[in-house]
Every structure is written in C-alpha cells, then in structure tokens.
Amino acid sequence: MAARHTRPVDDLVGDLVQDLRPIRPLLPAGARALTWLAAAALIGLALACIAETADLRQRLATPDLRMAALGALLTAGTAAYAAFVTSVPGRPAAWALLPLPAATLWIGASGLGCLRAALDPAAEAHAQTGLGCFGFLTAVSLPLSVLLVVMLRRACPLRPNLTAALGGLAAAAAAATLLVPFHPEEATATDIAIHGATVLAVIALNGLAGGRLLARG
C-alpha cells in the first residue's frame, strides 16, 4: 500500500496547531432537530396562507387521517433527531431504528385510510390528485433536505449514507405532514402508492447525493 502522506506526523501536528481557532461545540442533537423542525414549521405557516383550512378540521376528525398525520410528524421529528445523533462520531448506529415505531404508525394509518377509501365509491373522484401530491412532496422535501444536509455537515458523519437517508426520511415525513391540509379526505390506493414511492425516492436520493456531500464534509 503506497503512502499517501509523505511528510512526518510532527509537521502535520504543527500545521493543525497553527490552524487552530476557538470553536463552539455543536448544540445537542435534540436542539438541532428542533431548529430544523422550526424551519419546517415556517414552511408550513407559509403554506397555511394558501391552504383550504376550512376542510382541515373535518379531515383531521377522521381517525386514520389524524393518526397518519401524527405518525408522519413523529417520524419527521425522530428521523431528524436520529440523523443528528448519528452525525456525531462514537454514537451507535442503532439510533437509526428510532423512527421505526412512528413510521409504522404513519404507514399503518395510511394503509387503513386506503382500505377505507377502497370501500367508498366516492373516492374515485379524487384519483387524479396523485401527480399533484408527487409535485408537492418533492417540492417541500427538497429545501428541507438541503437545509438538513447543511446542518449535518457541521458535524462529522462517519456513516454519511445512513445519516443522509435518515435526513431524507425526516424531510419526506415533514413534507407528508404539511401535505395533510392540501389532500382530499379520501386517499385512494393510487395516492398511497404515489406517496410511498415519492417518500422512498426522497430517502434514496438523500442517501446517495446527501451521503456524498456529507462524506466530503
């Protein structure tokens, strides 16, 4: 194996000492996750200005929609927290499992909603909204993903793909939460399939592209 560093280690130590500047330790993972969630909430507030909030209360009265929205919100929070924790060296990768219960609630409640809609003939009227959902989810996930990657780069993610994929899950779940006021009450199987595919695409894109960006950090 050929040596990549040809100078003595003492020289490197001297250079690093020369380059030393006072630095403030990063905030705890919880505080950083809350900061990111606050940014997501700001996007939500901006969207609330154009959303039809009159129907929102009625939609949230449906138990499975309410549970799906709660599951998505919890997934966003726990995935963001797990991403920030795994971005610090020495913290266990098992933190990546943290969003699993919330994601199970999210997926389960969405599936229940799909089942309910399948039994309701009126649901077919809304089957054309799928492409709109795809556009909404990607448009909201993108800035949230970028913000998360920028914040994660300040740490030192030693498993960049895992951390970035968790960030993708957080961004997609936050976008799905913000989608609730815009989505019709009856989610069809096509809607759910498009939502699922979009979320997976956002996670995969973050895991690959975000992982590369974090690995360079």
Partner: protein
C-alpha cells in the same frame, strides 16, 4: 550483550496481582480519558499548547485503533494522519459532556476502514497465481507492536525500580552494550563491582518480571 531472562512460571488466572493490574490499567485508562478530554475542551477554546499535546497524546491511541482494523506499515501512518485531519475538522462535534476516547476511536476506525477500501479498490495484477498464493507475509501480525511496547514498558519499569548501582550497570552494560572498560572509566566503579551489580540486577529483574501480572518474562 543480550539480556536473557528465565521463562516465567504459570500463575493462577485470578491472582491478586492480575486483579490489581487490571485495576491499574482501568485507572490508567480513566486518567488518560480525563487528560485527553480536558485537553480537547481547552483546544475547543483555542488553546494551541493543549491542542499540540492532545494530538501527540492521541497518536498511540489512533495507531492502536487502526492496527486493530488490520492496517500495517505505511498504511498505519497514513490512517493516523487522516484521523488527525478529521479530528481537526470535526472538533466542534466533540461534546465536552461525553467521553473523548470513544469519539476519537470511532474516527480512527472509520479512517482505517476507508484506507482498507481504497487498498481493495486498487487493481492488483497477479502474473503468477501460485507464487502469489504461496508468498509468506513477513510483516508483523496485528497487535505485535502493541505487545512489544507493553513488554518494553514493563521492562523499563522493572529497570527503574532497581537500586542506583544495579540500574546503572544494566543500562550501560546490557542496554547500551558498552564494554566494562568504558563503563568503569566513565563511572569510576571497578569492573568487579560492575559485574556484581549486573549479576544482581539480572537476578532481581528475573524475579520481578517472572512475578509480574501475567507471568511474562
């Protein structure tokens, strides 16, 4: 002149000496952890002197971590320098409320794995597969350097514990391999006295090292 010592007798595994040695090692590890954590906190505040000392104190820890991953020779030096550079870039991610050594070891292990991956990606041309398979790897096995260093440290402690005359005889005659005439002229002691001191010193070393924690001679 070579310093030869008798093979050690076997000792029961759970001897008092072993337990006290384990406690001693645990205490030393704790002291190192506290020392490095304090230096890192000072470095985050911009203290260059503490940072230089920290980086130098980290070198054996990093080298042990990367060797444990299976790196050898120049690759160890490369991974040590990569780890130092990562430590420098990621120093904001160290949380002063948490232990320092797991943080450092995680970075060192990751940089060692990166080095192994780079080496694995490098194409190898094998013209003679039989000779390639039959080639003996004469490099030291993993961990040998650490054991040698531990043995050297143990011997140094035992030599330091000798009375002054005996210590001088061992250092000059056995370790520096100077002749009796030279040492006699330099120290003003007679050759007979030097020989007697060397003989007693070797006897004392044999007794103290054979009665060491793991009975290693």
């Amino acid at each position: 002149m070579l310093l030869t010592l008798a093979p050690a007798p076997h000792f029961p595994i759970r001897s008092k000496a072993l337990e006290s040695s384990a406690q001693g090692r645990g205490g030393a590890a704790m002291a190192l952890e506290e020392k490095l954590a304090a230096a890192m906190r000072a470095a985050q505040g911009g203290d260059g002197t503490a940072y230089g000392a920290l980086l130098r104190d980290c070198l054996p820890v990093i080298a042990a971590s990367v060797r444990a991953q299976g790196l050898r020779g120049e690759a160890v030096d490369d991974a040590v320098q990569d780890t130092l550079i990562t430590l420098h870039r990621a120093r904001a991610s160290y949380d002063p409320a948490r232990p320092f050594l797991p943080w450092l070891r995680a970075i060192a292990q990751r940089r060692a794995i990166d080095a192994l991956r780079r080496a694995g990606r490098r194409p190898r041309e094998v013209h003679d597969p039989v000779a390639y398979e039959a080639e003996i790897d004469d490099r030291p096995p993993p961990g040998q350097g650490l054991e040698a260093r531990e043995r050297a440290a143990e011997l140094a402690r035992a030599v330091a514990a000798l009375p002054a005359g005996q210590r001088q005889a061992v250092e000059e005659l056995a370790l520096r391999e100077r002749s009796l005439d030279e040492v006699s002229a330099a120290t003003g002691r007679s050759k007979v006295a030097l020989k007697v001191n060397l003989h007693r010193a070797i006897k004392a070393l044999r007794a103290s090292l054979a009665g060491g924690p793991d009975g290693r001679a």
